[in-house]
């Protein structure tokens, strides 16, 4: 048997190949094309982003409606006044109407939702609707997993425990602007990742063997009056449970209910009052709370970065493309001269 190697393109390393050469000549048209495409895209993106109306109000240091001299934040800092409510008012007026969908967000700063010990402190099995006991609850939830007597928190863990619990009521004149607290979480989360434990149609029984997290004022089944938005399936909870990327973040609180004719086209120009039930303590960790009203466009919220980035990159490509083009023709000219000699 001959040991002669096979004469195949693979074994003889003769596989046909494309040899791209990155020369000025081959690259500059690409650069020019890119710049021609990117600059207009950037402009469109930027203009779109500019059209979004966003109203932001930092209410960290707002005062109580009852007593103007009392800062709600100081009430929250005081352990002994934990049970007291503190409401403050935000006055908002805008001169252009917020047409279309309007979203209400709360924003927190200096809140490290992305801290490792915070992010992992949850039990996804519990949230998906499995009943857990002291022994089966995820150890990641500790020390927010169960009471010393063994009763498991529903839901357990640091994230759930620190659920944002300020509430906003927006009023124009005397009518309450209707904001829905549904449709703000990812549909996948709502439908797959969060489920109430059985029996799903009787939440008070479903959660009877659990206790609400320490910092909560309401039980999990009472987060909303509607069953479909209660328990683990409360969208406010779901939104909160998705840990933010940075210590500066915003999360949706509600969306404008445009079913009534009054708000069919969004929020019209005028003065609005937002009543904030100030529950969430942020001054302890030096954080701030913001109330945000915003419209969106087809690509999300106000985002100047993308437009600017496109325009910048397009311009750079343009400059370099022109430069390379010059270099190429210059080189050719020089080459011709060279050959003539």
């Amino acid at each position: 048997m001959s040991r002669k190697p096979e004469n195949t393109a693979f074994k003889q390393q003769r596989i046909p190949a494309w040899h791209p050469l990155l020369t000025a000549k081959s690259v500059f048209p690409t650069f020019l094309v890119v710049s021609v495409a990117f600059i207009p895209i950037g402009v469109v993106l930027l203009v779109n982003s500019q059209n979004i109306i966003e109203i932001m109000h930092d209410y960290t240091d707002c005062t109580s409606v009852e007593d103007n001299s009392v800062l709600c934040s100081s009430v929250r800092l005081n352990q002994s006044r934990m049970e007291e409510t503190c409401t403050c008012q935000i006055n908002v007026s805008f001169d252009t109407s917020m047409s279309g969908d309007v979203f209400m967000y709360y924003g927190l700063t200096n809140f490290f939702q992305n801290h490792r010990r915070y992010v992992k402190s949850r039990d996804d099995n519990q949230l998906i609707g499995q009943h857990v006991t002291q022994s089966t609850v995820s150890s990641e939830c500790l020390p927010f997993a169960y009471l010393p007597n063994g009763t498991v928190f529903a839901p357990c863990g640091a994230i759930a425990n620190s659920l944002f619990n300020d509430s906003f009521t927006m009023i124009r004149d005397t009518t309450v602007v209707p904001f829905l607290q549904t449709g703000i979480a990812w549909p996948t989360d709502y439908s797959q990742k969060f489920n109430n434990p059985s029996p799903v149609n009787d939440l008070s029984q479903a959660f009877s063997s659990y206790i609400r997290p320490l910092f909560w004022q309401r039980n999990v089944e009472d987060l909303d009056t509607v069953t479909s938005n209660s328990g683990y399936q409360n969208e406010g909870l779901i939104v909160w449970m998705r840990a933010a990327a940075f210590s500066h973040f915003r999360k949706p609180y509600g969306r404008l209910d445009r079913s009534s004719s009054e708000f069919e086209n969004g929020l019209s120009v005028g003065n609005y009052i937002i009543n904030v039930s100030y529950n969430y303590p942020v001054t302890a960790f030096g954080g701030h709370k913001r109330f945000i009203l915003s419209t969106t466009n087809w690509m999300g919220g106000k985002n100047n970065f993308l437009g600017i980035a496109y325009i910048t990159f397009g311009c750079v490509c343009m400059c370099i493309g022109v430069l390379l083009c010059c270099l190429h023709y210059h080189a050719r000219k020089r080459h011709v001269v060279h050959v003539d000699k």
Partner: protein
């Protein structure tokens, strides 16, 4: 025996016992063994005759493999990471995210090991299952080698290897002589004679053996090739002990030649045989590139520790901030907390060290080795031998070779002598016809032979042929039938059949060539009896009575026979080196000048020359000499050799010059061209040979290593002082400013000189001298000296060395050099077995180095750099993220996507870079050896390149983290107002990283094969597919809860797609631009050639122009420095240098001496002297069959 042989001892400190023989090595030299004939040797248990060179067997595989793997610091590192991950609460990435990839990688490595070891076992089986005739139960039976046991009597037939170490009992030849070829053991190609003791000579058939009784007692197994001590006792216990010595020893690894059969007793088997005792596991060689890579892995580990420490400190600082983060549980602090944080960060950043790098490299190198094995250009059809990469560790080292140390015999030459030309009475023959034909043929010559006219010239021709056919020690043998066993299919040099079925046996290939040439001319040397030589001269038998044989020795440089010619006249026929012959010519001898001129011509062509002369002896004068001086000398007790030489001198005088022969020591195909090409690639070639100075110089000329233009410096001193003085003198001659530059000088060093030149204090000046010469030839060097020279250059020059050889005497040098190449093709050659690469022809070195080496270097450089790049690019992002999450060790990505990064999403691009990248076409790589300098000078991969890459990937990771961060700073990523989370950002970043990294791999590829496309686009697709699938695992598969629904939402976000279009190009923009600018402003020769290839233009002009340019720069520089112009400078100009030569002053000897062409190989001082040998043969008598 020759000096070469005596010096040959394996370095004792480096001998590592084979795995299978570790038990016996401890008993070395302890005890003796006794074996009895014709009865099973049961009382002692001997090693089986099975060899095993495999690393593992079924039982040992797992422990040994794991041990091997975890000896590497690299794997230990990941094992530690695995263990750390098991500590609860420490790992940011769960418990199993390192163990899974590590297991996967070990699995791949294990499969590779199994395949390689399987091949070794197969090769062992082939040897173990060779057949041999063993005398059992009264008759010879064919058994496998493994079934041979100590004490067996075996019959070995011509052309076969000995199955173990044997004691020779008898043979088909007179007086139990046999020829063996030991080139496997010591690299010498002349045949050696072994002779059995007289007491056993008579054992000629099975019956004789049957009645044999007695025993052999000998020393225990040891590794001394030239020692053997034993006694044979015949006829039961009462018998007399007869000593046995090395002359009766037939070693495993040697081959029976020119002898029909022998009987031998097996004394050592398997791993106890001397060959196997000498075999040592080839030292594990690490390539330069691997060392650099290891260094860089350590750098990365240091960086890892530094950033882990920094992060842990950052974490402490963050914890100490005077705020109450009530939403996070009590964070451990203090020393223990700090330590735990440190571990967390080490785990977090551990992937900065690419876990898949080693296994990727192993895979890539293994497949590169397959490419080498499969190269048709390196396949030698006649012997059906493909090239073979025996190790894949050094593929890229082949691209960095600076010095080649080459053996001569069998490497540069074919070890095949051929009578090419002759000069008779001042007329040259053989000039005309040998342009095409290989052998000697000359119409005029044949005319003179066959139809002699009564002219002087024809008479001389006749005399010349007579000397050719009579003056030698060749033994003719009439072969009656073609026995397929006795004739091996290898290329026989002195074992030939003509229509008369005559084989010539000779221990000297030169003599065989001459006798064969005479036969072709019609003078067939047919019969040798102890006293006569019969030559069938043009069909007519002529008988010459051999009166005396005046032996050849290297000091005499000649041999003569005194014969009584058919006409009754006593003549002395002599052949030898021209200078010794000339000294002894009679004053009225003619043609001296013409012959000398012809000799010089022959020598210049690299032919080996011998002068032929004769003289008539007066009957009385001869008798007087024979009875007087010669008899006295031959019976002398003191200094017999010296006295014999003196006696010979008395008759070897007043010679009449007949002519000279020129024999070609045939070079292998394409050797001069290969040497020229390699020289252009700035590779220096040194020839190290055990052969004589004359032969070595000869070959150096014929392969154009030395040209006529070059001056020779010959170091032939025997004392340390002499050596030192000569070297200093030569160095002064060259001048200090030209030191270590390429001068047009060749250095010839002899082994004796070398012994001193390698001494500590002369060493460096010797090296200076050697490096200042264009060619270096070392002759008469022992194997150890070969290794020492290689070591010297390897350690003092810091250059990559390559040793190439074919014999066992080259093994030490092959193992000492960075890369060892063995010439294969002949069966079972030890050099090939201990080499890293074996090729069939020296000429294949060109493709091996210039194409495979350069390509592989470039491929691996790209592959390694890219592997580092992609990991730094991704995992450094964790560091940037740490600044935003309070140095808590939170990961931005899902844990499994991180650990699969190296296994699936970015594993293919390094492979495609490592396997299919081609800088220039193989044709151009061969055509323009200048391209080799890129890999040779390690331009593409060194510390500088590494740090540049590190900086670049740091910038990329910054961009790839911060651009998406800005993109999602506002959180709202959907038109319905929804926001993402940290993992949402993470998946943006991860996708962008995978795409950027894959595109970067594409950008680094100069060659886009189908596999490049598959790896670049395929990896991206694999990521998207995995992303999509993984986002739906939970809760069906209880992992990746966080990832649930990510793909649906990420892919639904317009921001993601706008980022996808913008980010990877923006990140790679600078890289692209730099490439374009480099091509525009600092175009390298490679890039130039690439462009030419694209446009299908022949790049010759470009290369030449580039060469001229850099030459003129260089010349300019030199002018400023030395006031000399146009001098070639070794080492830093990769491009061709114009041929300008500095006149070397006359005191450096140049080739003037025509005796340089003289070369003659003959075994000297063997067990049977040449005159005894021819006295014992009688080719008229038929030989026993030995059945």
């Amino acid at each position: 025996m020759e000096e070469v042989e005596l010096d040959f001892q394996m370095p004792s400190n480096s001998v590592v016992p084979q795995s299978g023989s570790s038990d016996s090595s401890s008993q070395e030299n302890l005890g003796t063994r006794t074996l009895h004939f014709n009865c099973p040797n049961v009382e002692q248990s001997f090693e089986r005759n099975r060899i095993s060179t495999g690393k593992y067997n079924f039982a040992t595989f797992i422990p040994l493999f794991l041990f091997e793997q975890f000896r590497k610091a690299f794997n230990i590192f990941f094992l530690i990471i695995c263990i750390l991950q098991q500590i609860p609460g420490v790992s940011p990435t769960g418990r199993y995210t390192t163990i899974v990839p590590l297991t996967f990688i070990l699995l791949v490595a294990a499969i590779k090991e199994i395949i390689e070891d399987y091949k070794r076992h197969r090769a062992d089986d082939a040897v173990n299952n060779r057949l041999i005739e063993v005398f059992r139960e009264g008759k010879f039976t064919e058994l496998r080698w493994t079934q041979v046991i100590v004490g067996d009597i075996v019959k070995v037939v011509n052309g076969n290897f000995f199955p173990g170490d044997l004691v020779l009992l008898s043979s088909s030849e007179p007086q139990a002589m046999c020829y063996i070829e030991t080139s496997n053991l010591d690299g010498e190609t002349n045949l050696k004679i072994r002779q059995g003791i007289p007491a056993t000579t008579g054992l000629q058939c099975s019956e004789d053996l049957n009645s044999l009784s007695g025993s052999i007692e000998c020393e225990g197994p040891n590794r001394h090739l030239y020692d053997f001590c034993g006694n044979i006792k015949l006829g039961g216990d009462s018998g007399r002990s007869i000593p046995l010595g090395p002359d009766q020893m037939l070693l495993r690894g040697a081959m029976l030649r020119n002898t029909q059969w022998i009987y031998g007793v097996v004394v050592y088997t398997g791993h106890e045989s001397k060959l196997m005792k000498n075999a040592k596991r080839a030292p594990l060689k690490m390539s330069n590139l691997d060392r650099t890579t290891n260094m860089q892995i350590w750098f990365l580990m240091v960086i890892l520790i530094i950033i882990s420490l920094a992060s842990a400190i950052g974490s402490e600082v963050w914890k100490k901030m005077p705020v109450d983060r009530w939403y996070i549980d009590d964070i451990g602090s203090g020393a223990r907390g700090f330590f735990m944080e440190l571990l967390t960060f080490i785990i977090l950043y551990n992937n900065l060290v690419p876990i898949s790098l080693l296994v990727t490299l192993e895979l890539v190198k293994a497949i590169q080795a397959v490419f080498i094995n499969c190269d048709l250009d390196m396949y030698y059809e006649p012997s059906d031998t493909p090239a073979m990469a025996r190790t894949s560790n050094l593929n890229e080292e082949l691209g960095q070779v600076k010095y080649i140390f080459s053996d001569k015999t069998g490497t540069l030459t074919q070890n095949y002598m051929e009578f090419k030309k002759c000069s008779i009475a001042g007329v040259k023959y053989g000039e005309t016809a040998n342009q095409n034909g290989d052998t000697f043929s000359d119409e005029d010559f044949l005319e003179r032979v066959h139809n002699p006219k009564q002219v002087d010239q024809d008479d001389y021709v006749r005399k010349f042929i007579t000397i050719m056919s009579v003056c030698h020690t060749v033994v003719p043998e009439h072969v009656k039938k073609l026995n397929s066993n006795s004739i091996s299919n290898r290329d026989e040099t002195d074992f030939d059949l003509d229509m008369d079925n005559i084989q010539y046996q000779s221990s000297s290939p030169d003599e065989a060539a001459i006798v064969k040439a005479a036969r072709k001319m019609g003078f067939i040397f047919s019969i040798r009896t102890p006293t006569h030589v019969t030559v069938k001269a043009l069909g007519k038998d002529e008988s010459y009575e051999i009166l005396n044989v005046l032996e050849f020795s290297s000091t005499r440089k000649r041999m003569s026979v005194i014969v009584r010619c058919p006409d009754g006249v006593i003549r002395l026929l002599c052949k030898g080196a021209d200078n010794v012959i000339c000294e002894r010519l009679s004053p009225d001898s003619h043609f001296q000048l013409e012959t000398e001129n012809h000799l010089r011509e022959f020598a210049r062509e690299g032919l080996r020359t011998l002068c032929f002369a004769q003289t008539e002896l007066d009957e009385d004068a001869y008798m007087e000499w024979n009875k007087g001086a010669f008899y006295k000398a031959s019976t002398a007790v003191i200094d017999r050799e010296g006295q014999l030489e003196a006696a010979y001198d008395l008759v070897e005088k007043n010679l009449d010059l007949i002519g000279a022969s020129a024999i070609e020591d045939k070079l292998q195909d394409g050797v001069p061209e290969t040497i020229a090409t390699l020289a252009k690639a700035d590779i220096k070639i040194w020839v190290l040979t055990g052969d004589k100075q004359e032969t070595a110089i000869n070959i150096a000329y014929s392969c154009k290593l030395i040209t006529e233009k070059m001056s020779l410096i010959i170091l032939n001193e025997t004392t340390l002082d002499g050596v030192r003085e000569t070297i200093m003198e030569a160095l002064n001659e060259i001048g200090s400013e030209f030191l270590r530059q390429e001068n047009d000088v060749a250095l010839i060093v002899s082994g004796m000189t070398l012994k001193h030149a390698l001494c500590a204090d002369v060493q460096s000046s010797f090296l200076d001298l050697a490096l200042s010469c264009k060619a270096v030839v070392c002759c008469r060097v022992s194997p150890i000296q070969k290794a020492e020279i290689v070591d010297l250059v390897k350690h003092r020059c810091k250059a990559i060395t390559l040793a190439i050889g074919d014999g066992a005497n080259d093994v030490s040098m092959i193992q000492a050099a960075h890369v060892g190449v063995g010439i294969s093709g002949h069966e079972g050659l030890q050099a090939a077995n201990s080499s890293d690469y074996s090729i069939a022809q020296f000429a294949y070195l060109q493709k091996l180095l210039l194409v495979h080496g350069a390509w592989n270097y470039n491929r691996l450089a790209k592959c390694i750099l890219f592997s580092f790049y992609k990991n730094i690019c991704l995992y450094l992002i964790e560091l940037w993220f740490a600044f935003f999450n309070g140095f808590s060790g939170q990961i931005l990505f899902d844990r499994w996507t991180i650990s699969f990064y190296n296994m699936f999403f970015t594993s293919l691009p390094p492979l495609s870079l490592g396997l299919f990248e081609r800088t220039c076409s193989s044709e151009n790589m061969m055509k323009y050896p200048q391209l080799y300098s890129i890999s040779q000078r390690a331009v593409k991969y060194n510390a500088g390149v590494f740090w540049k890459m590190f900086a670049n990937s740091t910038v990329h990771s910054l961009l790839l983290f911060f651009l998406p961060t800005f993109l999602l700073w506002q959180d709202v990523a959907f038109s319905d107002g929804k926001v993402g989370g940290y993992l949402f950002l993470g998946n943006f970043v991860y996708t962008y990283v995978v795409i950027t990294v894959c595109l970067k791999a594409g950008m680094e590829s100069a060659t886009w094969t189908i596999f490049t496309h598959l790896s670049v686009w395929g990896s991206i697709i694999v990521w998207f597919a995995f992303f999509g699938a993984y986002s739906h695992f939970f809760p069906v598969i209880p992992i990746g809860a966080e990832m649930l629904g990510q793909a649906d939402n990420v892919l639904a976000s317009p921001l993601f797609w706008f980022g996808l279009i913008l980010l990877p190009p923006a990140v790679l923009f600078r890289d692209l631009l730099w490439k374009v600018f480099r091509r525009r402003f600092r175009k390298s020769v490679v890039e130039e050639v690439q462009e030419m290839e694209m446009e299908h233009i022949d790049p010759t002009n470009t290369i030449m122009q580039a060469a001229k340019q850099s030459l003129s720069e260089k010349a300019h520089l030199l002018k400023n420095m030395f006031g000399v112009s146009g001098r070639s400078v070794a080492g830093d100009i990769p491009l061709e240098i114009s041929e300008e030569h500095r006149p070397i002053s006359s005191s450096v000897r140049s080739l003037q001496d025509p005796n340089l062409g003289f070369a003659f190989s003959q075994e000297e001082g063997g067990v049977v002297s040449q005159s005894d040998l021819i006295r014992q043969y009688n080719s008229e008598r038929s030989k026993p069959e030995g059945n």
